[in-house]
Subunit: 361 residues, 4 copies
């Protein structure tokens, strides 16, 4: 297969740099277009102002790619098959629409279109079937291209473990979660160091709403009017920021409405859970999407965030809950699984199922 | 009033140093006896091995006090009216018993006797009346002295806010709490730095049990067989360690079983709550035991742990909870309110009510 | 004495907040004018956008003071006797000039006029006599008021220890220093947390030049053309940023050109050193400006930055140096002694010597 | 070539775990013997008490290897060709001697024999020729085996850059260095978190002596009485501990005694420097041992410690020094290049030159 040519919108920002870093040697995808708020002769030059934040150097082939204004859709059209959007929510609103209208599929990290019922919000292990809404999206909106999005990074750690139990017919009706989120979730410069030296901050703007609401859509079903939210579950989230570079941790309490699995059953369900990305053997898919650790003191960001290249969720401390049924702690890498890595997995699913293809020539 | 003479058991440890530091200029209490695992000519010398950890220097008068083996009860008897115990749980078991038997009242931080139903576990704003069990304790156990204890530091942030609502007849039946606890809670050397640089640890040995069980006794009532636990409430706790020096934060979700107060009612109840320490104007009592902050991003350890000299609890972010009734975030200073400061407040209550008095001569 | 009325330019920034916090109960000075980039009805409102960062609440009397645009010199003229400037270097250039021209003395933290030879750069324990240049400044520049400045925060830890030795005729000719500087030195938002979690940054823009050059002026003498720099010393500085909230540490190597004092002599010189602020008993003057600690592992930010309310310098680890003569480690509180506290001490000196006085009515 | 069988003494400690982790897929070496303070059936069991600290899981093949008491030399003799010693200095004294006497070569991290003039202290890029002293060591001491050691981790960042210039005949006579060392240098539990949250500690026991003295031996020459120290250089070191997990940084000032290279010459010498490990293409040798970065704000632990798998030194900020000739900042990974990785490179050199060989069978 010839590699697809991809663009990155918002290439110089933190998420954009993660995309470029992770696409370094991708077997299916090749970066051919980079866009930011202004033109630059080379990406190296464009990124020099804020700096390149990754421990690995800029990938050789990306160094000299020209950077275009993100609004230059014609340039994008001539240079790439689809784009990853690492834009902020505000510019994403107009630009992602423009790209979709002009026939360039958009695989987005931004929150701008998460609540459009014709836009699938994907965690491929959970709701790969939601991509079936794409033809309806194109029809209803009159897009030549389309938009798919990924959910907020805060819920990546608990959604797959919850779903794994639900698809085995253990119906979860109540979830209380407190997250301990890493600094990188806010990008760079992001959270001031004075907020996180000897301190935690119990507030991340809009994060609790996203953490509570987005799961309802992710668990929804595709219908005539797009995706219909799941209504069998209520979630309460408290989101805090802690002095950790990468890796969002969640303390989770859950209640079952029908029957209650044993502790051992749950662990087996988690460890054996596989989704479509595993079946398809997508290049970025973790072999085992949920890893349960038996140690008392796991998961920990330092030890577990990089599990399976940062794409697996690590769960631990499953205990009986005196108020609900069970409680556990879950962790996922927020800039990999929760951002660029998750976006790339979405794209791989779309390639595999034929939604993304060689558009040029 | 002549000042009472007090001893500190475990004087060189982290909690012991906090006692010595906080008793610096106490209007009612004077340190006259210090005990550790071995004799030293002066406290300065005794503490030089591990170091004195407080930012303020060793109080002048404590510097040259001799340090005795904690097992030397006769020495204690001749030198002080009562003792604060800052011992580890294991040595506390025998030594606190010995002191009580020998007629030296023990005001303890240790967990050894927290579950003895004749030993009051005090948060003076909540259950000052539990000291009425002391005469029964002396009778049943045959002590000349007695033991009172304080609860674990992890629950100080949420217990007073819960109690304030309950004593206004808003019955809370379910509590789900996740704590983000400071390093100093484990003393020194305590938590290794490699565990808390760029990391959090979702595990503190025995802490979740204490956080769930101790409230039942604190809310209990004094009966024939000592304190009977409150049974109208169930609590689920997840305890984590975060890279913060001082200040335990708790994310709390609560449900009411009878009627549900409005958000404004709750805030008014908290801000206007006063207990016996405030009525008595005890020297260490915070003026306002619960301080509600309206800012979105409070409480924070750095900004709020020192509220009212570290003796007040700061609460914020009271929001409707999609699963229970309300959720909020609470914070208290773990080595002041949650340890030495709390112990001193207990002693002040006992002095005021006549349980501690000039025993010498 | 009637209190002087003071203004703060840049009141909502980090340094400005420190001024307002430290002036809380000042015996000589009362805040009567606050200025920022735009008008607000009250300081409380003006500061609400970025937040008030101090652990103590906004001082009662400052809460409701109106905030004016810093360029409104007429307003300042009618409301205060002199101003503290906590402006950034760029706006300071025009505004401080304007205030001085209009007759309002400026006690500044900014670097804008540090290299004007008619502007004294004060550390009152070292060069209080430099204020004698003020009449010449007014004459040469045609100012009705005047400007005095303080040096950069990075050198506060080592300058007084060096000077204390030099004024005892031990001539230091070479200094090699590496600083480990706190995050608060860059204000808020300042250094991104991703730069300081599990990391240090060996770079602070312009800081090495300031650390090397400013001492030459501080040690200079007042002459016909203003202050003439001292030329008997060369300094080499490397400045790094470390994950510490407050407290700049310096590792210092020094060489003597004439005679070499003994270790004991040096310590005695430091501990007994007193300057004019001590003689004058200025309200913010530390009792002992240089505190030597004998412990192996001092000074440490957490333990020593607050020495004498953050106004003293703490020195330790004085050892023979295999390359130069001696090496030691010094520490001072960068936002107190190194910024607002240092500025207030400068003002106190000027009040005492009659340069600042009741200008209104 | 058949792989050599290696043992690790002190296998459960922090350095030991690093050895086991790094030897995971080594092309020349296979772990066949593990030793600790007591026997265990499997390494997994032996390590479970303190925990396995590496982000990667225990290597499959090491998991089930039995662990023997380190004093069981007979067992070692029957199971491995040589051993890596990751012992603490005290036990190393007796045990390394015993192994050497019994014919088992010891490649050590410990400081016990660093000052024996017949024991080479190796940085293979600098003094690979020192291994020529091994036959004399065996002869003089009567060992059947031998001991080689590596120097302290604190000097790995600056020694190779200094040597690279010296071997080009730019004679350095004075070095003033301040190190900012990572927490992992003290192992686990190591430095208490209360020492490194919002703090730095300007003290590491014995570290300054090692940082100053060991370079003299490393730069020495092999003579009749073993290695004779280099005497043309004097070094002054100040060693501090900072809140960083891995990566020791050094701020270095140097003076040349003969001629002074230009800034550009120095950078070229560093970037083009190669040693014997590079010529031999040893498996763990970094391709480019010294990497110079032109960015203003490098090296940084987070960005540079893993350069070339943690085996390269990264240097930056080369500037003229107002006191000496130049100053720069250097960084190396202390647990890889500075400990286990450095030990493995030493072993590879010894294998290549025939000092380590298949001893069993």
């Amino acid at each position: 297969m010839e590699k697809l040519k991809v663009g990155v919108l918002g290439a110089t920002g933190a998420v954009g740099q993660n995309y470029i870093n992770l696409l370094r040697d991708h077997p299916w995808l090749d970066i051919s277009f980079l866009a930011a708020s202004k033109n630059s002769d080379t990406f190296q030059e464009a990124v020099s102002e804020r700096g390149w934040f990754m421990p690995q150097d800029i990938p050789e082939h990306a160094r000299n790619i020209s950077v275009w204004e993100a609004s230059d859709v014609d340039k994008a059209k001539s240079l790439c098959d689809f784009v990853f959007s690492a834009l902020e929510s505000d510019p994403a609103k107009n630009l992602e629409l423009l790209y979709a209208q002009e026939g360039i599929p958009v695989v987005s990290n931004a929150s701008a279109y998460r609540w459009d019922s014709f836009v699938p919000m994907l965690i491929p292990e959970i709701n790969a079937d939601h991509i079936a809404v794409i033809p309806r999206q194109k029809e209803v909106k009159g897009y030549e291209g389309f938009i798919v999005v990924k959910p907020n990074c805060s819920l990546q750690s608990y959604m797959t473990p919850l779903y794994a139990l639900m698809q085995k017919d253990f119906t979860i009706d109540k979830v209380v979660v407190t997250t301990l989120q890493a600094s990188s979730g806010a990008g760079w410069p992001g959270v001031p160091s004075l907020d996180l030296i000897d301190n935690i901050v119990p507030y991340i703007p809009k994060e609790e709403d996203k953490s509570e609401q987005e799961p309802y859509k992710i668990l929804g079903t595709v219908g005539e009017n797009g995706i219909e939210n799941y209504s069998g579950l209520s979630i309460s989230a408290t989101c805090t920021r802690v002095p950790v570079r990468d890796g969002h941790t969640a303390s989770v309490n859950i209640s079952f409405s029908n029957k209650k699995p044993s502790r051992q059953e749950i662990i087996e369900i988690w460890n054996s859970f596989r989704g479509l990305p595993q079946e398809y053997k997508l290049p970025s898919a973790p072999e085992q999407p949920i890893i349960y650790r038996e140690e008392d003191n796991r998961p920990q960001p330092i030890l577990d965030r990089d599990a399976d290249k940062g794409m697996a969720v690590t769960v631990g401390k499953l205990r009986e809950c005196p108020v609900f049924d069970y409680k556990f702690v879950a962790l996922s890498h927020n800039t990999i699984r929760g951002a660029a890595g998750g976006g790339i997995l979405n794209a791989e699913l779309l390639v595999k199922d034929g939604y993304l293809q060689n558009r040029l020539k």
